[in-house]
């Protein structure tokens, strides 16, 4: 059973590390930080790295490409340092966060603040409900598919699920805000 104090300490370490990572502008230091985190991840290192890369690829990929294109168009040298630093930083932050979430009992870590705990409960329950709903939509399509479902139907079902979830999320956001207000938040 992890103790609340230990979990809170992990939270503070994570917070400090995130702040540090966003201040450091020296690629060497960032790389060193990345090395430390990878070491700390132990056996989970490949799984976590893969997840962090997938999660950040869209962002860093777009940003890097846009900058590279911009500088190439300006006939300037590529700002290699800058690109390396940004990519290292984003990857480091993502890895830190994934590692933190995996190794910490968030409910204990945030237990010191009623407000943070409350937000955490909201976030977790929303994401569980979201996952359940997405499962149900997948099952709905599966149950009606006599043959392997084609791309078009998959796309339609996904779009429908997204539309449904969007409506729900809007309604839920209103409800949640009202519920939190009635319990004394936002004052």
């Amino acid at each position: 059973m992890p103790s609340a104090a230990l979990e809170r300490a992990k939270f503070l370490v994570w917070l400090a590390a995130i702040v540090a990572a966003s201040w450091l502008s020296d690629a060497a230091w960032l790389a060193a930080g990345l090395g430390l985190v990878l070491l700390a991840a132990g056996r989970a290192v490949f799984r976590l790295t893969r997840r962090a890369l997938l999660a950040t690829l869209a962002f860093t990929g777009t940003v890097s490409l846009t900058y590279a294109a911009w500088f190439w168009w300006q006939q300037d040298a590529l700002p290699l340092d800058w690109l390396v630093t940004v990519n290292l930083r984003v990857l480091l932050m993502a890895l830190l966060t994934f590692l933190f979430i995996e190794r910490t009992n968030l409910f204990l870590a945030l237990g010191f603040s009623r407000r943070l705990s409350f937000l955490l409960v909201l976030a977790v329950s929303q994401s569980l409900a979201l996952r359940r709903t997405l499962d149900e939509f997948r099952q709905g399509l599966d149950s009606r598919a006599l043959v392997r479902v084609g791309l078009r139907d998959r796309y339609r079902a996904a779009a429908r699920a997204a539309g449904w979830l969007f409506d729900r999320a809007l309604a839920n956001a209103h409800e949640s805000a009202r519920a939190m207000q009635s319990r004394g938040m936002f004052r």
């Binding site: 149900e136 939509f137 099952q139 709905g140 149950s143 009606r144 006599l146 339609r156 429908r160 699920a161």
Partner: protein, 257 residues
């Protein structure tokens, strides 16, 4: 037709079905009763091969049903054609651009040449002809449920699994559904927690208790007359009633929730 033995299921350690065993014979109409969260929807999804039970087996005409056996194309084609599940939330099974396409979805996969006739036939029987051109998501809950039903029936399944089909229906539509299902030449398993409706839907009841075990399998009438067991299944309860100045307590089941 369906044979279930030693079925267990849990979601992340929380049991939702414990040691379930029963059989369904062709042509039977059976009601699955149970209070909220006792595992009715989970059981139907396992019977439809959508989720894999943690242990135990489900056979349909002697062949094992599970997400993995249904990867086999011939078996999938036959099973999905003959067994249909109406989800508790019909939204999750409606994704076509119009009600017409929704009902045609199954027949088109079978590459039948009477798709149009089938669509119009079942739309008429279920009473959704006037919505054929509308996108399903713009309909009301009860209308969606009927569209989903028509979409399933267009394949003329042998076994129909219905999860709370009356929950979104008004009394008139419910009366219609009861008569409609009684005349339908299919094997039927329907869930409900509406005790008033249950005996209209089938003669045999399967009752899931709050411990997620099968509490009763047999004739429905004696079960409904057994107050102790109704309370044990959390299908009836005691609460106060106020009539004018008088107040008294007695048990009862709630027909409409």
């Amino acid at each position: 037709m369906i044979e279930v033995a030693g079925l267990h299921h849990d979601y992340g350690g929380q049991p939702s079905l414990v040691d379930i065993a029963f059989t369904l014979a062709p042509g039977e109409k059976v009601v699955l009763l149970g209070s909220n969260g006792c595992g009715k929807s989970t059981l139907l999804k396992i019977l439809d091969g959508l989720i894999a039970a943690k242990s135990g087996r489900v056979d349909y005409d002697g062949q094992a049903v599970s997400p993995s056996t249904l990867k086999q194309p011939d078996w999938r084609r036959r099973f999905r054609r003959e067994v249909a599940l109406l989800f508790q939330n019909p939204d999750v099974m409606l994704f076509n651009p119009s009600v017409y396409d929704e009902i045609a979805f199954g027949p088109r996969q079978m590459e039948l040449d009477d798709v149009d006739a089938r669509v119009r036939h079942w739309a008429g029987l279920v009473g959704v002809t006037e919505f054929l051109d509308r996108p399903p998501f713009t309909l009301s809950g009860g209308e969606k449920q009927r569209v989903a039903l028509a979409a399933l029936l267009a394949l003329e399944p042998r076994l129909l699994l219905l999860d709370e089909p009356a929950a979104a229906l008004d009394p008139r539509a419910t009366g219609w559904l009861v008569d409609f299902l009684a005349d339908l030449p299919v094997t039927l398993l329907v869930t409900t927690h509406n005790l008033g409706l249950a005996p209209e839907l089938g003669q045999r009841a399967l009752v899931l208790g709050e411990d997620h075990r099968l509490l009763h399998d047999g004739d429905i009438e004696p079960f409904l007359a057994d107050t102790e067991r109704l309370i044990a299944a959390n299908l009836a309860h005691v609460h106060r009633h106020r009539h004018g100045g008088l107040e008294h307590r007695h048990w009862h089941g709630h027909d409409w929730q």
